[in-house]
């Protein structure tokens, strides 16, 4: 399932001139905060940034998606389908829901936790992780699965899920954003009381990525 990633951070596509991250999940996963962190870090890295986020009605237990685009050319906030560089799925089945945004070059990060929509029971023909990964592999081989919810719980604060995810993607060297800069922006944007726990969460994500990469 995993492929080795190179040590150098990924570059921004010369053709589209922007790096496109699609973060998806369910309300409460911290998708909007993750987007905000990525946006600030990308700006400090010197990029032009645009995002589009789900606020309001869609947050009431609904599916949440957030677009982050940055580069020398990022005018509009939406990512054209297929031109996603990274799909960050905070909930496993949401990766499948947004599969049409995935292209041949997309790297997909899946948190292995499921949140079942209301009225769905576990055994009801609901796609499982293996099926989701198998389908997505038809489009791209670059799929990474992480137990981010468990890792977040290990820190003592499950709300650090989004920062574990960011640590993981940074640890995989998939982001054209300096890791230290990213960490600084995480610590700037999380509540003062939660700084230490988020530092731990970020490191847990990085360590997990290193393990996968065999470092």
């Amino acid at each position: 399932m995993y492929t080795q990633s190179e040590e150098i951070p990924r570059e921004i596509s010369k053709k589209y001139k922007s790096f496109n991250i699609l973060s998806v999940g369910v309300g409460g996963d911290g998708v909007i905060s993750a987007t905000q962190i990525l946006a600030w870090a990308a700006m400090k890295q010197g990029y032009k940034v645009r995002t589009a986020e789900t606020h309001g009605m869609a947050q009431r237990g609904g599916s949440v998606s957030s677009f982050t685009r940055f580069g020398t050319h990022a005018e509009g906030p939406l990512i054209p389908k297929g031109l996603t560089d990274i799909l960050l799925a905070f909930e496993a089945s949401e990766a499948l829901r947004y599969a049409d945004y995935v292209g041949y070059k997309t790297h997909i990060i899946i948190n292995n936790r499921f949140v079942y929509p209301s009225g769905v029971t576990r055994k009801m023909n609901y796609p499982n992780l293996e099926e989701i990964v198998e389908y997505l592999q038809k489009i791209t081989p670059e799929i990474y699965v992480i137990n981010a919810t468990e890792l977040a719980k290990e820190t003592g604060n499950p709300r650090t899920l989004n920062v574990v995810m960011l640590g993981f993607v940074s640890g995989l060297n998939l982001l054209p954003i300096n890791r230290k800069l990213l960490q600084e922006n995480i610590l700037d944007l999380v509540p003062r009381k939660a700084k230490e726990v988020n530092k731990i969460a970020f490191q847990l994500g990085i360590d997990k990525a290193r393990k996968i990469r065999g470092i």
Binding site: K15, Y16, K17, S18, V26, Q36, A39, M43, K48, V49, R50, T51, A52, E53, T54, H55, G56, M57, A58, Q59, R60, G61, G62, S63, F67, H73, E75, G76, P77, L78, I79, P80, K81, G82, L83, S93, E94, L96, R97, A99, D100, G103, Y104, Y116, P117, S118, G119, V120, T121, R122, K123, M124, N125, Y126, P127, E131, I132, Y135, K138, I139
Partner: protein, 634 residues
């Protein structure tokens, strides 16, 4: 405490801002004093951000008004007093404010007067996707529309200046992807607010009786003629003429707002940015006729890229006809791009390639046989609205009568979805009671008629419907869902909570007193805690069976607020569990109540409580006929 980035007086500093924060920043930078509004997605964060700025800039006078019409009227009074004033609302809120809008368009403005409309193409959180650019055409009011957060900040700041220069209200139109999208913003200077102001005594202008309005009408037309002329020179409308062609044809585009941003990306992606002409409108009404003619002169084929209604298209075709271009150039718009919903970024690339007749390799998505049910928004675990709907459904079953349940706009509209399915009609704010008045004329004698409305919505536009019912003796039961918050839009306060936007105490309006004052007799008013199901069912039955105009106040704080109250007070809510020996697997808790925290285990054939979701409201203990759900002892 460090001053938040949006309130820092640090011109030139580069920050990331949400579109709505950038709009608030522009309002602050313009030296605005008055800001009023009513919460509504996607507009709510504008006033919320201004309220946070108020800590550092106490000259700001802000409020959540009871509805959008009141909010605009407050801004109008500010303008009449020569201070810069703004009213913020979602697109459908402008309909509520339209009465004031259409006539202040005549009388004009003194202090800069801006109405921010947050439109919602794609209906992310709205009942329609109306295109409020039409309000500009309708009222003869200039309309601005930004494409990025930076533009939003700069343009709204300028809109106040523009408003004063031409003495007109300005409609500042935005859309969801601008309001709820972030981008780089360079902070600007914060202007000093007017130090000296006072009411501008001018009865002939401000008293809009027919004799005065005839004069104002003439002034309005003259004003618009002057603006129509000046917008040709405005920097907000930028025209790029390319001398190049693609396969012998000269192509052009006209766009504005978010579609313009995606158009730019598409042209860059297709590597043809320098090969086509583009007119970008920042002032989307009135139309810069001269610039459009220039564009028409420079192209063979023109594509108008606008979401929703073909407003630019109609205007450009009219100008092309009048100027004799009809046979010379092709003008496309809604024949290529859809009239419904927002434009996905890939759709713009695809349609432009089609228009330009150039190759674009599209990716084949492999067939997906996995069935993924939709994840619809729903009432939260522990939501008191679920308890009220459950109780209403139980009474309906017991009485063996079919109710017509009119509902309103708020979280509780989610009661339409299964398993509750407790809502039959919903159109607009306050409409529940209005429509129940109509149903009462037809079925008042035979069918129980319920109007189900939230606390904030009742204050917004529910009250006139209630007075109408009392006056005309239109029998109905009004159920006010009083959860002490305007929850759907982010827990704003309202007259029922009595707290102001600045978090200072105001005067609380008591619902019981209000309905009594509207003429509902004491015997026709019931009050109960929504989560006290047995009492709810008993009292609701009584209320539904009674005659006359009745009001049932179902009261319980929003579960999200209750959770945060628990947290601050360090209270842990009770833990509930299901006794596997008692649970018969009947699934009544799932099929009739539907709390997301209760799941059915297909292996055990028993219901289970997901402790990570359960908020400990305990309502499900009433629902279970086997009494299998119990509170754990600590």
């Amino acid at each position: 405490m460090e001053i938040p980035y949006f309130a820092q007086d640090t011109p030139g500093k580069s920050v990331i801002m949400l579109g709505n924060e950038a709009i608030a920043r522009g309002i602050l930078e313009a030296g605005t004093i008055i800001g009023a509004g009513y919460p509504g997605t996607p507009s709510s964060e504008i006033l919320k951000t201004l309220a946070k700025m108020e800590n550092y800039f106490p000259h700001l006078k802000l409020e959540w008004s009871t509805n959008e019409k009141v909010a605009l009227e407050i801004a109008i009074a500010g303008s009449m007093s020569k201070v810069r004033s703004v009213a913020c609302m979602k697109h459908v809120g402008v309909n509520v404010a339209a009465d004031a809008f259409m006539t202040i368009a005549y009388a004009g403005a003194r202090g800069g007067l801006v109405l921010v409309s947050a439109d919602d193409p794609n209906l992310y959180s709205s009942q329609n996707e109306q295109d409020n650019r039409f309000y500009g055409l309708h009222g003869l009011v200039p309309v601005f529309e930004p494409s990025t957060p930076q533009e939003a900040k700069d343009m709204i700041k300028y809109a106040f200046e523009f408003s004063e220069k031409y003495e007109t209200i300005v409609l500042f139109r935005t859309t969801t992807r601008l309001n709820h999208g972030r981008g780089n913003v360079l902070l600007g200077e914060i202007e000093e607010p007017q130090k000296e102001f006072g009411f501008d005594w001018d009865r002939e202008r401000w008293v809009c009786v027919p004799s005065h309005s005839r004069v104002n009408r003439e002034k309005l037309l003259n004003r618009m003629e002057r603006i129509s002329n000046d917008v040709n020179e405005s920097e907000l409308n930028s025209l790029f003429i390319s001398k190049k062609n693609i396969n012998g044809t000269k192509y052009g585009f006209l766009s504005a707002g978010i579609p313009y941003a995606h158009l730019k990306d598409a042209l860059s992606y297709l590597e043809i940015e320098d090969k086509v002409s583009i007119l970008k409108l920042g002032i989307v009404y009135p139309f810069p006729r001269k610039r459009i003619i220039e564009l028409l002169h420079s192209v063979d084929k023109l594509l108008i890229v606008e979401e929703l209604e073909p407003i630019f298209e109609t205007m450009v075709k009219k100008i092309a006809f009048e100027e004799g271009f009809s046979d010379k150039i092709e003008i496309h718009g809604k024949d290529i791009l859809p009239q419904k919903f927002e434009f996905p970024a890939e759709l713009i690339i695809e349609k432009i390639s089609e228009f330009l007749n150039i190759e674009f390799d599209q990716m084949e998505i492999p067939e997906n046989n996995l069935n993924l049910p939709p994840r619809l928004p729903m009432l939260c675990p522990g939501c008191s609205h679920r308890a009220t709907f459950y109780a209403i459904n139980q009474v309906e079953k017991k009485l063996k009568k079919q109710f017509i349940n009119s509902s309103d706009i708020g979280c509780y509209t989610l009661g339409v979805y299964k398993p509750l399915a407790a809502i039959d009609v919903q159109i607009c704010m306050g409409g529940s009671i209005g429509m129940a008045n109509g149903f009462s004329k037809l079925y008042g004698k035979e069918k129980p008629l319920l109007a189900i409305i939230g606390d904030s919505t009742f204050f917004h536009t529910g009250v006139p419907g209630l007075i109408n019912a009392v006056y005309n003796q239109n029998d109905m039961l009004i159920v006010i869902l009083d959860n002490r918050s305007t929850s759907m839009t982010g827990f704003q306060d309202n007259p029922g909570t009595g707290m102001k936007i600045t978090e200072e105490p105001g005067t609380r309006v008591i619902l019981e007193d209000l309905v009594k004052g509207c003429g509902v007799p004491e015997k026709n008013i019931w009050v109960e805690d929504s989560n006290n199901i047995d009492k709810m069912i008993e009292k609701l039955e009584e209320a539904i069976e009674a005659k006359g105009v009745r009001v049932f106040i179902s009261r319980h704080i929003c579960s999200l607020l209750e959770m945060s109250e628990f947290k601050t007070k360090n209270i842990s809510p009770p833990t509930y569990n299901i006794d596997n020996d008692e649970c018969t697997g009947c699934q009544i808790c799932i099929n009739q109540f539907g709390c997301p925290a209760i799941i059915f285990d297909e292996e055990l054939k028993k219901a289970q409580i997901d402790q990570s979701l359960c908020r400990g409201c305990g309502v499900c203990t009433y629902v279970c006929p086997q009494e299998a759900i119990y509170e754990e002892e600590i």
